[in-house]
Symmetry: D2
Subunit: 426 residues, 4 copies
Amino acid sequence: MIISQNIIDDHNAKQMAKHKTLFDFAKNETEGVEKIIQRLIDFQVAIPSWALGTGGTRFGRFPGGGEPRSLEEKIEDVGLLHKLNKTSGAISLHIPWDIPTSPKEIQTLAAQHGLAFDAVNSNTFQDQPDQALTYKFGSLQNVNKAIRKQAIDHNIEVIKHGIDLGSKSLTVWLSDGSCFPGQLNFRKAFENTLESLQEIYAALPSDWKLFVEYKAFEPNFYSMTVGDWGQSHLYASKLGEKAFTLVDLGHHLPNANIEQIVSLLMMEGKLGGFHFNDSKYGDDDLTVGSINPYQLFLIFNELTHGTQPNNAPFELGSGFGWMIDASHNIKDPLEDLLQSVEAIMVAYAQSLLVDSKALEDARESNDVVKAQEIIQAAYRTDVRPIVAEARLRAGAALSPIGIFRDLKVRNVLIGERGLKTVATGL
Amino acid sequence: MIISQNIIDDHNAKQMAKHKTLFDFAKNETEGVEKIIQRLIDFQVAIPSWALGTGGTRFGRFPGGGEPRSLEEKIEDVGLLHKLNKTSGAISLHIPWDIPTSPKEIQTLAAQHGLAFDAVNSNTFQDQPDQALTYKFGSLQNVNKAIRKQAIDHNIEVIKHGIDLGSKSLTVWLSDGSCFPGQLNFRKAFENTLESLQEIYAALPSDWKLFVEYKAFEPNFYSMTVGDWGQSHLYASKLGEKAFTLVDLGHHLPNANIEQIVSLLMMEGKLGGFHFNDSKYGDDDLTVGSINPYQLFLIFNELTHGTQPNNAPFELGSGFGWMIDASHNIKDPLEDLLQSVEAIMVAYAQSLLVDSKALEDARESNDVVKAQEIIQAAYRTDVRPIVAEARLRAGAALSPIGIFRDLKVRNVLIGERGLKTVATGL
Amino acid sequence: MIISQNIIDDHNAKQMAKHKTLFDFAKNETEGVEKIIQRLIDFQVAIPSWALGTGGTRFGRFPGGGEPRSLEEKIEDVGLLHKLNKTSGAISLHIPWDIPTSPKEIQTLAAQHGLAFDAVNSNTFQDQPDQALTYKFGSLQNVNKAIRKQAIDHNIEVIKHGIDLGSKSLTVWLSDGSCFPGQLNFRKAFENTLESLQEIYAALPSDWKLFVEYKAFEPNFYSMTVGDWGQSHLYASKLGEKAFTLVDLGHHLPNANIEQIVSLLMMEGKLGGFHFNDSKYGDDDLTVGSINPYQLFLIFNELTHGTQPNNAPFELGSGFGWMIDASHNIKDPLEDLLQSVEAIMVAYAQSLLVDSKALEDARESNDVVKAQEIIQAAYRTDVRPIVAEARLRAGAALSPIGIFRDLKVRNVLIGERGLKTVATGL
Amino acid sequence: MIISQNIIDDHNAKQMAKHKTLFDFAKNETEGVEKIIQRLIDFQVAIPSWALGTGGTRFGRFPGGGEPRSLEEKIEDVGLLHKLNKTSGAISLHIPWDIPTSPKEIQTLAAQHGLAFDAVNSNTFQDQPDQALTYKFGSLQNVNKAIRKQAIDHNIEVIKHGIDLGSKSLTVWLSDGSCFPGQLNFRKAFENTLESLQEIYAALPSDWKLFVEYKAFEPNFYSMTVGDWGQSHLYASKLGEKAFTLVDLGHHLPNANIEQIVSLLMMEGKLGGFHFNDSKYGDDDLTVGSINPYQLFLIFNELTHGTQPNNAPFELGSGFGWMIDASHNIKDPLEDLLQSVEAIMVAYAQSLLVDSKALEDARESNDVVKAQEIIQAAYRTDVRPIVAEARLRAGAALSPIGIFRDLKVRNVLIGERGLKTVATGL
């Protein structure tokens, strides 16, 4: 389904008077609003190819209809999202779920939708039908050298696919770990994993980045071999300057202070990017900002006002991996993604409102009450009109979900693709 | 695969000298050892039909071979376990995964293996292929009366299957809940669920029990409509005297004191039974006693020494539901179950060693140090020879896992059933 | 220190133009704004007498200056807060820290400040210098009848003090529990506690309420005898219709869904009130809304739109206990309280913006995306001008913290009371 | 109170027959029992000077009697413990609570009791009466350079006291952090802390070690500036080869896998030592092994069988810091310490029983069931007779708590010191 610019413009026209009222007020109240809008326009969040279909749990899956049946249809779906919000201008592929038959044609298709290819993702957490050796007991950590080799080769193959498509980074998420005390020699598992990563790192083009993602638990339920930021950082440090830590918001123990982790990784020049989602209990993979939007804001506050080791400003979106990684179990996946992107833009905009000079002054004088007043003043501001204005100027819809529903997009997709579809890879 | 008594006796004969040394020592050191052995012999733990195959997570499943392909083969597998440990004398069926074509024949088969039918389990957390309405947004809680009706009817059908087989209880585990703030009217969800449960309760034979299982999260990630013992107890109280709370060890928030919950439910006469497993993070469904064996012991300490409202002793195994509910993702399911049963028997035996009179005296005088000394003295005792002796007297193997491996049972099963099997229901 | 109305009016006058711009916009955008403002004006949150001084942890305490040295000065401090925000019109006393020498005079003083007396609080978690028997091993749960008696008598004495002052409720928070497995007979502890509560309940005037507060852990670190809402509800049910559950936001296990608990307690007619604060790890007693303001909003959403058993609307503030219970370790206590009250008013105002009719419609049609849109639309709205307007109309300051700092209130208090003060009871 | 060797010998004589029976059996069943006994004899755990009195929480403290009133009496108490178990041969002092007037005399006194001086501990988490600047907003992290300087100087002074006494290490536990979002610039806090630690490190004698302790939360409730092992490791790496990470068992987020952290720190050559205790919820500081003894065993399993970077065996007790750090709120402190040491020795002995060769074989063949069997076989063994034999050979009591009670030690101490004592520092 292709939505033409006219349709979007018409939709916007109907809401323009209302928007103008809201934005005019916001504009008056917001210092530096033009600069903020520009930064919002510039910011892009990648959509992972696996997020376009209905997800599920080990207990079951309740699919909707009209899910993409091919890589081409996945690109169409991301193109549609990007058309609606002009903030989803990249797609992150998963190998082997999304191996393109013709990379050229896929690149052309993506270009037509204005999409770039973000990080490519390897998969050694599942066995593929034609796979020689099993990852039941881990991949890069495995005690069996042949299995490690197989997993290394797969990652190198993923890099090749990424080169073909124009990606510039590889995200490695390992489910390696153990389910029972005694099962694993933690040290050997770490050393094997490091050695394997070194081989993958050696195959990385010079302008690529390697993102080492960590996760506290699941699918292993006793230990994870890349289990926290400390371990990921240890790997990334030993690997070299092209290796970075990737933070998935749902991959922490209860109550972890993620924004502090983000700040320290920036300090060390080792923050690689994010998988955005939200959660209440574990890796729940819920819509971004649906459970704890203040935490999201606090993370963006670090990103927006933090710097790299050399005190160079940290630029969101330039070479870093910003991706949504959620599982849409009970919502329409495209609506869910639109809500997630909106939540990210709201948090980003709020963080841009923080008076960082005043904040540092309050901190320097230990004025805790004032520091809180400053950041909460930004957080309590209604930035939706500013975010909408950024969309409007970029040619997107004032209300992405509104137009999605008005146009009955899902029904159209079901008409095109059928009611009983299963997105590849799920 | 049928293991004859000779084979077990031969296996035991080889280990008898060693066992005799160990048991003779234990016997000398243990007051009332005969009574303890008798209680161990009497105690039986049900095996759920779904635990006989390899489990998995939402990320993948790594099946082994020789899994049971039918209800008959599941009963054979439990029969085999029971042959080896004489403590697994019951099977708990799941509907619709295990609907018997001929209940009579199935009963006969079970009887040949010395197995009774424990609680039957309904399933409204998945959609079945031929199902009219979806449980995507809940079953007994659903805002749609027709869906609630469908789920009620299913539960009543499960009761009928149970009657056919000789079961005496129904376990209702609901995945009902919500994934997002705002999604659910908590109160209506509770009221709908209660009303639905009342209709099911009304269909219960007079000598049956209804077990209301609670779970803190998953597969819903914001709220669960039977989310903790408090809610389960509220339902059970409103339903009537045949309704009880069922405790699954993995269904709690982090750090919950489960043994206290058990004690209070006993006090109220509302403890229905257990789903045994172990976990470190969430509902990890690991081998019983593999993560925190002391907690398991403390729970058994409550069970062994606690009483019902009228101060009648709480008798383990008489009418209560004691079941293992684990997911064997990386172990051989049968070996895993043997380890789980062993861990339960060890904990039970240790709890029988607790000098409850001395413990109450220490409590009455606030002698905290002594209270700890008393229960840790029991816990630190090596009760394996006593548990083995109970098995020996019951005709089971001194070392169930030892004989399982010596006989290469898994290989035999693979020979009989094939390498690529998937247990029904998984 | 007494702040005259002129001073507040002058302060407001300077900010009026700005406020008018903001409020005029909010007024235009908000349906039913007048009704909302009235409800905000009507809502009052009690200040506990122990929150007026600097709190601390077991590791240390870093006092500020000018803390109230007597009950009279505590009332002055609450009066000052109420003067500034007109929302802190009640004080909650703690016995024995705040025993009035002359209840009459204290009542007169409070009345001069426009303050009512909220729930009185008993203390059996500490030993007082002149106390006969120790609460080291619990109070109402104690195995020693004489200790239970002492604790019961203390609670009855607290009721008497409350009657003298015009209070209408007693809050019982018990630290009773155990630190070690084995220490406690859970059941006897429950039964002793129930029996003790029954004696206290019997001494309650007919128009009084008894609030049974629960807490998951601390100061006991293994079990708490009123450990969760389920236990509190069990006590309250057995006690009778004057007994209710009190919810302290910090008294839960990690990740608990507090808003669902609130909804169920309302359903059962057993919600008694709140102790407001915020926390990240345990009972951190931080400023309300400083860690997870969305959770606070979700709780108010239940309160605002929920009903009692008979479907009578739940009226905030009429007979229920709404109190801040925080510990001001590093902020000026009065500023901290002003921030807490502001956070509560913001959350309450946002909840009043929720279109509950549309929300119920979305729920009835399982439109999860829309349900989230509706509640987040309310939450993302900047309600500060509406809250400020409510204050303005009530005669309070547009910016309570602003005027507090402009007037250098703390310096004045230090001048009056000295730099080295310790608020009684801390 | 001095307990003569005769008294211990007499006490042992009475229990010898029973012990001989138990130990003879254990000896027969245990391979390499003599080597195990020797390692148990060699292992020593330091007692911190602050653990000899009754601890408390922010809610209260219920002191016992006969607590040590001076450094001399603290040394006597540790001497007494060491007399009873011959495993508590070191004391860890806290400055400024334990500044010796005459280091020489204190050293002589300690030597008389057979005690060495373990790590010295600095204190920048409290303000001392005569202190110029406050640590309310942190010490080594403070935005104020003068406050950092004061804290650095204090640490250097602590080193000097340690040198006088013969200590060889400094433990730095910082309560530095923040209570509220926005309060702290995380990066500046880290950088300030690092710079401060570097100055302290520079003052360290060449044969000393610096232990950097981490803690997830409390007394700061939003962020801690040395919050997890990753941060501690980052400091220790940047400081140099004399800096190490110290692990306190209670200083983690819920569900953390501490044994994996231990293994990785050993791999990096950065494990410095332990603060032993147990906990269920937070930093509960309960008796070692009272809540989760299996976890303690798993940690010892890593220590016993792990190696350093160069594959040199990790030797428990040689230069590493092994200390109990518990808070005895409701038990007699000395009895509590005896229970803690016993739990440590039991866990250590069990870990020595693990067949590490067989375990590695099982791991190398991914035999998860066998790996669990191997470690649980060791854990389920009753090692108390072996631990008792080690004590016997070292000249200690077969039953330390037994003799403590038989001799009514506490009563004697109360007679000597009085009923109303408060150990210095608490």
